[in-house]
């Protein structure tokens, strides 16, 4: 009989007094970090082969070029419509001034650094101790990078990827919450919240991580830290109120999906303008579904739409099937834990499951006005934590099957078949996630090719026609960015085999 007492080292409760971390890295930890480093390097390499994009980036760069100082940038961009994102443009200004003419290198390099940091913090938060942990961590890395929400973290930058910074902020405070705790971790959590919330609205989810982690028993961020971050959240909301910054609603003016098609903003206003509650609930619901099942995207159920048209594109069905199976595994494991039938689940893994639940709901609520994969990318990252817990637990379940049957019963066909089926299912699932993760590289190459074409079509001497500032400095900056983009060695994705687009395209 397997022991009901959990002796797994990672199961030790993470109270302040009980956190035990070895002073050195163990073999499984090194393996997990090594895989994460290679994955990070491969995405960083792709990002460094991408030009800074024209849309959403050139205007921002020209803006900060015109701005005389950081303070002027901060003031000019504090309230903007329904948004309060002053640090977004301040960061752009800092990098722009640091770049000293090497814009592509600095902005793309910063994006690559953020991705590497996110993957490091993600791996660290898994608290790998044993080889089975490491195996599940490798799986979780492919889930994290294979999710459609991850694509939004690498696809675009404005010219900084705000959603990636939110994910990074949430992963950072989760790591802080898992630590031993000190006044410095409290301070770091507070600073992280300030930066994240003033960069993009979904940054307020840092508060949710802090509170959820504390409620689940993580004491790295102490009650003082939780109070401070909560106070900062209240201050943030008060500042929005004082500055008359409305919460985003239908007036954002964006097209949005509903059912199987996109609706233009005017159509949305006509349908839901009188009472947008149902539309908001729809967005919250579809945001949750998009994390759990990789569909819908932007509120549109693409699988249903294509099915009605008699099409079954692999690029849609592979993500949906893999996500559905993974979600089913997570649900099974969570239900087993809830019913007390998963005694081997460590306390830290239970905490990760609970925090995922909180983040899924909170991130979906934040997406009430407008939903897309990028906005729910934080929930996507935490979904990968849940996948890690599920994989880790399934590995344990297989072991318990072995242990309960005993060596004398090794010939038991049912047990052997069960183990074989489990291995096949897990292997197929892990293959599918690895394949999805590899697809992100294809997407990045395709994006890079398209962005280079965008630059080729832009005439720096005629940027005024597109509404950009057009003085000599602006034209010179545009010409330099264009030159940097055209000089990049980028693959011609027209020449890549068609199957790549069939399976990995967008």
């Amino acid at each position: 009989m397997p022991s009901a007492i959990n002796t797994h080292p990672a199961s030790i409760p993470t109270t302040r007094s009980a956190v035990i971390r070895p002073a050195y890295l163990t073999g499984p930890q090194i393996a997990a970090y090594l895989i994460a480093a290679i994955v990070a390097a491969s995405f960083a390499h792709d990002l460094m082969r991408k030009p800074i994009q024209v849309s959403d980036s050139l205007q921002e760069l020209l803006d900060v070029q015109q701005s005389p100082s950081l303070w002027a940038t901060f003031v000019a961009h504090s309230p903007r419509g329904p948004f309060l994102r002053p640090l977004k443009q301040v960061q752009t200004k800092v990098l722009f001034d640091m770049a000293a003419g090497h814009y592509w290198l600095v902005f793309r390099g910063f994006h690559a650094l953020l991705i590497a940091a996110a993957l490091f913090l993600f791996t660290r938060a898994l608290r790998v101790r044993t080889w089975p942990d490491a195996a599940a961590a490798v799986f979780a890395l492919t889930v994290f990078t294979g999710l459609l929400t991850f694509r939004g973290l690498v696809r675009e930058a404005f010219p900084i990827n705000l959603y990636l910074e939110s994910v990074l902020g949430c992963l950072l405070v989760l790591n802080l919450a898992q630590s031993r705790g000190s006044v410095w971790t409290d301070l770091a959590a507070a600073v992280t919240f300030v930066i994240a919330s003033l960069t993009v609205e979904s940054g307020v989810l840092v508060w949710v991580v802090v509170v959820a982690a504390w409620v689940c028993g993580m004491r790295g961020v102490t009650w003082r830290g939780v109070s401070a971050v909560t106070l900062l959240l209240v201050s943030y909301l008060a500042a929005r109120f004082a500055l008359s910054i409305a919460t985003p609603g239908l007036d954002v003016g964006r097209d949005s999906g509903f059912g199987t098609r996109m609706l233009e903003s005017a159509e949305l206003a006509r349908r839901f303008g009188a009472d947008p509650t149902w539309f908001y609930l729809y967005n919250v619901g579809t945001s949750i579904l998009s994390v759990l099942f990789s569909d819908p995207d932007r509120g549109v159920f693409h699988t249903v739409r294509t099915w009605l048209q008699g099409e079954f594109p692999a690029r849609l069905y592979l993500p949906v099937v893999t996500s559905a199976i993974t979600t089913a595994l997570i649900v099974c494991v969570a239900v087993a834990r809830w019913r007390g039938r998963a005694p081997m689940m460590s306390a830290s893994n239970t905490q990760l499951l609970k925090i995922f639940g909180a983040m899924l709901i909170a991130n979906a609520i934040v997406s009430y006005a407008y939903t897309k994969h990028e906005i729910v990318s934080i929930a996507g990252a935490f979904y990968a934590f849940a996948a890690y817990v599920a994989a880790r637990q399934v590995i344990e379940i297989g072991g318990r099957m072995d242990a309960s049957s005993g060596p004398e019963a090794s010939g038991d066909h049912a047990s052997a078949l069960g183990r074989a089926a489990l291995c096949l299912l897990l292997g197929a699932l892990a293959c599918a996630w690895a394949f999805r993760s590899a697809g992100v590289h294809h997407m990045l190459q395709t994006q890079a090719f398209r962005e280079r074409v965008e630059w080729a079509r832009l005439d720096p001497e005629r940027i005024a026609e597109r509404g950009y500032p057009s003085d000599a400095r602006a034209r010179a900056l545009t010409a330099q960015l264009r030159r940097e983009a055209l000089d990049l060695r980028i693959a011609n994705t027209n020449e890549v085999p068609a199957w790549a687009d069939d399976w990995w395209g967008e």
């Binding site: 290679i38 195996a135 492919t142 318990r400 096949l424 294809h442």
Partner: protein
């Protein structure tokens, strides 16, 4: 304790969970090492001349090469497989017409490509049923008369 823990896990399941990710990481590592030497196995970048870029629908590369001084009216050697299945010497415009790429043909005309009467007739006759025909019609030299009998394109 470590031995007991390892005994509890389903090793084949752990292997099945980890192996695809490990293989992906190994493939990524190999790709990164090859990239250090300028080799990209899955998404390769080949150095191309202007006609090859036009034939491969590389709009940005066409722009770059013209801006760097390559002549949009000169013939260039084109490797087999890019436009034709044999080596050929083509102008960028010919490569784009063979590919039936109206956007590329328009871009080349906008960036300085020009054709004389006989060359235009040869291209236009070849493109009789192609999508590039209207673009060619927009750039018809005044002296050209569309008479296809006996007309041959240079690459045949």
């Amino acid at each position: 304790m470590g031995g007991r823990l390892v005994g509890r896990v389903n090793r084949p399941a752990a292997f099945a969970v980890a192996m695809p990710g490990c293989l992906l990481a190994a493939a990524s590592l190999i790709a990164l090492m090859l990239a250090a030497f300028g080799e990209y196995p899955m998404w390769p970048h080949d150095d191309v001349n202007l006609a090859e870029a036009a034939g491969a629908r590389e709009e940005a590369e066409v722009t770059r090469l013209i801006e760097r001084g390559q002549d949009p009216n000169a013939p260039y050697p084109v490797r087999p497989g890019l436009v034709l299945d044999r080596p050929a010497k083509l102008t960028p415009l010919e490569a784009a017409v063979i590919n039936d790429d109206p956007a590329m043909v328009a871009q080349l005309f906008a960036r300085g490509a020009a054709v004389d009467g006989p060359s235009w007739v040869a291209l236009r006759c070849f493109a009789a049923d192609l999508r590039v025909a209207p673009v060619l019609d927009e750039h018809r030299p005044g002296s050209a008369t569309l008479e296809c009998d006996g007309t041959r394109v240079p690459w045949e």
